[in-house]
């Protein structure tokens, strides 16, 4: 064991302590970001989808102002909050639900499970990745909306405060719900097929593609149960003129209800996520 002696001595002099969760979350975040950037097609999809949708809808319906006699604004301006909400949903809920299901399938989780990495650091890395991609994607979307479609950006700091908390709370809720939902697909291959329709349906009933006030009442009620409607409404309160609040279901922006529903989903997602998180596939023994 002569060659081993130096290492032995070092280990003896410095009792090894397990790395902290926060530091490991940063290590994981660096790994996640690297892998995300190298998946070119995913990057393009996540970043381009809301922008492409904004461009298509604004071009097709560009001549039709949205609203009623009370207030009417250009289509792109009405459409932007919904696209911001969709972007948050894509980078948090959809990306996470699919990527964790895939990582459960391809052995990533199994390998991590065999190391001293705590699950909190794994999820923490995902949260940091989500935060980074959400911020970058939303910034890009806002820049395109302002520069290419002349959507006026709010100048009132209060509105940006609203933007900040709706964005952070929406991303957090989408993240924990994505972690929880990832246990539903049976395999990595089926993950997209299971997750994408959920997101699509939510987009349609939550007033992302159509003016929410124009949807049938039952659809509005259904959408009110889910977070996307509230993220979109919160974003409308940021980017639409004040008088448009009259078109919302309650006749106001309902910030309190928005925060309440998002927090409720955050808690539900957290509880379900913690209870159902699995390192292995569902059908694996």
């Amino acid at each position: 064991m002569s060659t081993a002696a130096p290492t032995l001595a070092r280990a003896g002099a410095r009792p090894a302590r397990l790395p902290g969760v926060a530091r490991l979350a940063l290590v994981r975040a660096a790994v996640e970001l690297r892998q995300f950037w190298r998946e070119r097609d995913a990057v393009v999809f996540v970043f381009a989808y809301p922008i492409v949708m904004l461009a298509i809808f604004s071009t097709v319906f560009g001549s039709e102002d949205q609203g009623t006699d009370v207030a009417a604004i250009g289509y792109a301006q009405y459409f932007l909050p919904g696209m911001v909400a969709t972007g948050v949903m894509l980078t948090s809920f959809q990306s996470l639900a699919i990527s964790i299901a895939v990582e459960r399938d391809d052995g990533t989780l199994r390998r991590l499970r065999a190391t001293p990495l705590p699950v909190a650091a794994y999820v923490g890395g995902k949260v940091l990745l989500t935060l980074a991609t959400s911020v970058a994607q939303t910034a890009l979307l806002l820049a395109v909306a302002a520069l290419a479609f002349d959507v006026p950006m709010p100048s009132d700091p209060d509105r940006w405060v609203t933007f900040a908390w709706v964005f952070v709370l929406g991303t957090a809720t989408g993240t924990v719900c994505g972690v929880a939902f990832s246990s539903l697909p049976r395999s990595g291959r089926s993950a997209s097929a299971v997750v994408t329709p959920v997101v699509l349906v939510l987009q349609f009933v939550s007033g992302v593609f159509f003016a929410f006030f124009a949807l049938p009442a039952w659809m509005q009620t259904l959408a009110s149960v889910f977070p996307l409607k509230w993220i979109a409404q919160g974003m409308r309160s940021v980017f639409l003129p004040e008088e448009m609040a009259a078109l919302e279901t309650g006749g106001s922006w309902q910030h309190l209800a928005t925060a309440g529903v998002l927090v409720a989903w955050l808690v539900v997602g957290l509880v379900v996520g913690v209870r159902t998180f699995r390192w292995r596939r569902r059908d694996d023994g």
Binding site: A4, L8, V31, R34, Q35, G107
Partner: protein
């Protein structure tokens, strides 16, 4: 495989364990102790009362046909599966309840992984090293598995054998005391396999306890200090590769043909028997037809064991 250009592996990096570095276990305690392990999937009793011990610093090969319960057993020992019954201790702890500190002391090379495709070899090993309290040097580990030339290559671009060697690098970078290798050389060419064997022996010499499952009898014979044959979820035979199956199974077999009829006889004195045959059974040319003296190897003993169990 690019093993032809791969240099012989360096001695394992940062050899780590000696008696002094051992964790709070008394010296005589086995590194792994399994008693009466049972696990059922639906109607299939995958593991059925399995007993197994690994002393610290030895390589034990678990042999057995597909579906014998090898992988299930290993996954229970890794803390990856629950068991239905039985007692399991790995490094003195129950894997089903062990925490991070315990995971830092084991290493796992599982079957069939496809993860981390977008990372490079070096990134993959370095980031994994950071999960551990006292890891080996990642670059040395990459060198030890012969992947230095591929350190900057994306994992997705590796061949099957290179990918497997990366799996081993990731399994040992945390400097584990107990290493689980689940069919590690499946798909290796002979030279890569030989290189890999040297690596495993080096790890053992550095004090690592290694549990190896394999289909490859030559691998077990070359690497293992002890061999355990598993069939239907139980250990049916155990011993060193040289003594497995008992002396009877090792008795040389002399076979020959007389008048088109094949004869065979087990004897401890094959030379004497051959001399006797030369006198009594040789043809006109002085040759005994189809004379063959065979000393059963591990594979013959193993197949004999499985056949005997099936007959029983």
């Amino acid at each position: 495989m690019t093993s032809t250009t791969t240099p012989a592996p360096a001695p394992p990096p940062a050899a780590s364990r000696g008696p002094g570095a051992a964790p709070p276990r008394s010296p005589g305690d086995p590194a792994v102790r399994v008693r009466g392990l049972a696990k059922r999937y639906g109607v299939k009793q995958a593991v059925d009362g399995l007993d197994l011990d690994l002393a610290a610093g030895e390589i034990v090969a678990v042999l057995g046909p597909n579906g014998a319960g090898k992988t299930t057993t290993v996954e229970i020992l890794e803390g990856f599966r629950d068991r239905d019954a039985g007692e399991v201790r790995v490094l003195g702890e129950d894997p089903a309840r062990a925490g991070r500190a315990w995971r830092a002391r084991i290493g796992v090379v599982a079957q069939d992984s496809r993860d981390q495709a977008e990372l490079t070899v070096a990134e993959s090993v370095r980031s994994t090293a950071r999960y551990y309290p006292a890891p080996r040097d990642p670059d040395e580990v990459v060198a030890a598995v012969g992947l230095t030339a591929k350190a900057g290559a994306r994992v997705r671009s590796l061949s099957g054998g290179q990918r497997r060697r990366l799996d081993v690098a990731l399994g040992v970078v945390g400097d584990p005391e107990v290493l689980f290798l689940d069919e590690p050389t499946t798909g290796f060419d002979p030279q890569a396999r030989r290189t890999f064997w040297d690596l495993v022996l080096g790890l053992r010499d550095a004090g690592t306890t290694i549990l190896l499952t394999t289909h490859d009898l030559a691998e077990a014979a070359h690497l293992a200090d002890r061999v355990a044959v598993v069939r239907d979820g139980q250990v049916v035979a155990e011993g060193t590769p040289e003594t497995l199956g008992g002396p009877d199974a090792r008795t040389p077999l002399v076979s020959w043909t007389v008048d088109g009829v094949r004869h065979a006889e087990r004897t401890e004195a094959p030379t004497a028997l051959a001399a006797h045959l030369m006198a009594t059974a040789a043809g006109a040319d002085g040759e005994v037809a189809d004379l063959c003296i065979a000393r059963p190897g591990l594979e013959d003993v193993y197949l004999g064991l499985l056949a005997k169990e099936t007959d029983a």
